[in-house]
Subunit: 282 residues, 2 copies
């Protein structure tokens, strides 16, 4: 297995950075993560767009132009040959002489075999809990997961699988997933502000718009209490039905029909995307 | 020059960690920083207390008991022989198999030559600006400085030397310093909540209490507009008079008398601390 580090493909266990890197000194860096299926990177342009946008906002220079970056990703995919996997691209603040100022970023590209949640999860749905917090620089995919990791204990103690952030009753997102509800009138709604705009969120919104009313708006804890369905989206989880939030069931406490329809449509979209890609590269 | 990394003293340029460390993957880690003068670590017990407290809150196991940790610090000081220097101790989330869960932490201890701000700074005072933000987990010395580093540009554009965080008009702290004002009645006041409790802050409060009324309380932007003096404290800066906040002068726009008295007293306290230490270790 290879990791790409700056200019080289190196054996994964030899991919090291000096401790003066600003990620270690000051938690300063951005990243992105996309899925590879049948050796095809799914929705790659979306993820690259977001990666470059995060880098720009955080004043980090991506050391490669977009086309060279894509070639590097394809070369890694070829070298590693992990047909079902995830690729994580990290860009750190670099080796900072004074331990505070941004330097020439270090670029790390890692690939790892990928597992979806077990088949039992979607038919059953999951419990989540809420936690008062809003991410710092929420629109940027920074490496800062202090609160996300810190709340793992609370989550496990309460038998939940994830933590939904809320601030003064307005919910936003999970550490690594977006949040949706299906309202009483059948509209599919997701928080509009103070979130990272997930790529899966984007595609689910587009799919939902073909069949349902779609809303990006403020969603409160009270809206969840009134909702018919709720679900979470992410690159690694696709769509997971949420059947309980804190101590309260969502709707009738079972995965909802609209949620499962969207999951079905998302899987179909991914398949199309793969076929399209294979046709182009054939 | 040596860096201590986990169990070894290694040459500084060879101190590397694998990219799977949770500081790189998720910005997860804590640290502390203290000064060494004449090869004496100043107020060491205070810093060690805080380091262990940060580790505990963030659920990181310090891989050494306190006495072994102190011995390691003294051994590094002896090996490096940098009489006037700073020591930074970082504890990361460790090599995480899944890139999210805390593992066995990596302990990094670095030492570097240390420079106080130039002699011209204290007689002249500095300009600072304000920025709306409150640190996540403010009572813990985490490695998260996303906003602190991100605001450097704004700071430089406005000709300021630091950025004071405020939220809804209540000021808290700088990225790496605490904040004080001297009120119209001569009381020395500093924010009580949502801050990292600095070691220099602690000693300045104790010194101030010998001569003045001291208050730990809510301080607003309006309180600053009414203040006679303002200053910042930190391990690397001791006390720096603040003569301008955003566009407004503080008091008469010159370093204040109480500020300079406290700086004098702090330097004297440091000298006492060094002499005491030398007497004990002689």
């Amino acid at each position: 297995m290879y990791i790409y580090l700056n200019n080289d493909f190196i054996e994964a266990d030899k991919a090291v950075v000096h401790v003066s890197d600003l990620a270690i000194q000051r938690g300063y860096g951005i990243f992105d993560f996309f899925r590879v299926m049948d050796n095809v990177p799914l929705f790659l342009e979306d993820y690259i767009d977001r990666f470059y946008a995060s880098a720009k906002t955080m004043r980090l220079d991506v050391p490669m132009e977009r086309e060279a970056f894509k070639s590097t990703l394809f070369e890694l995919i070829k070298k590693n040959n992990l047909p079902m996997s995830g690729i994580k691209v990290i860009l750190t603040g670099g080796y900072s002489p004074d331990g505070f100022r941004i330097s020439k970023p270090n670029l790390i590209i890692q690939q790892a075999a990928f597992l979806f949640p077990p088949d039992t999860v979607q038919p059953k749905g999951v419990k989540i809990i809420t936690h008062e917090y809003v991410r710092e620089m929420p629109t940027v995919k920074t490496i800062n997961y202090l609160t996300g990791i810190w709340t793992l204990k609370k989550m496990e103690e309460q038998g939940a699988v994830d933590v939904l952030y809320q601030m003064r009753g307005e919910v936003t997102e999970f550490p690594r997933c977006n949040f949706f509800i299906v309202k009483q009138d059948g509209a599919v709604a997701t928080p509009a502000k103070n979130i990272l705009k997930g790529i899966t969120r984007k595609h689910v919104l587009a799919l939902a718009a073909k069949k349902f009313t779609v809303k990006e708006e403020i969603i409160t804890l009270n809206d969840i209490a009134q909702a018919r369905e709720a679900f979470m989206t992410s690159t690694t989880k696709r769509i997971i039905p949420i059947v309980q939030v804190d101590d309260k069931p969502v709707g009738d406490g079972k995965p909802g029909q609209i949620t499962l329809t969207l999951l079905h449509d998302l899987i179909a979209l991914e398949r199309e995307e793969r076929e399209k890609y294979k046709a182009v590269s054939a």
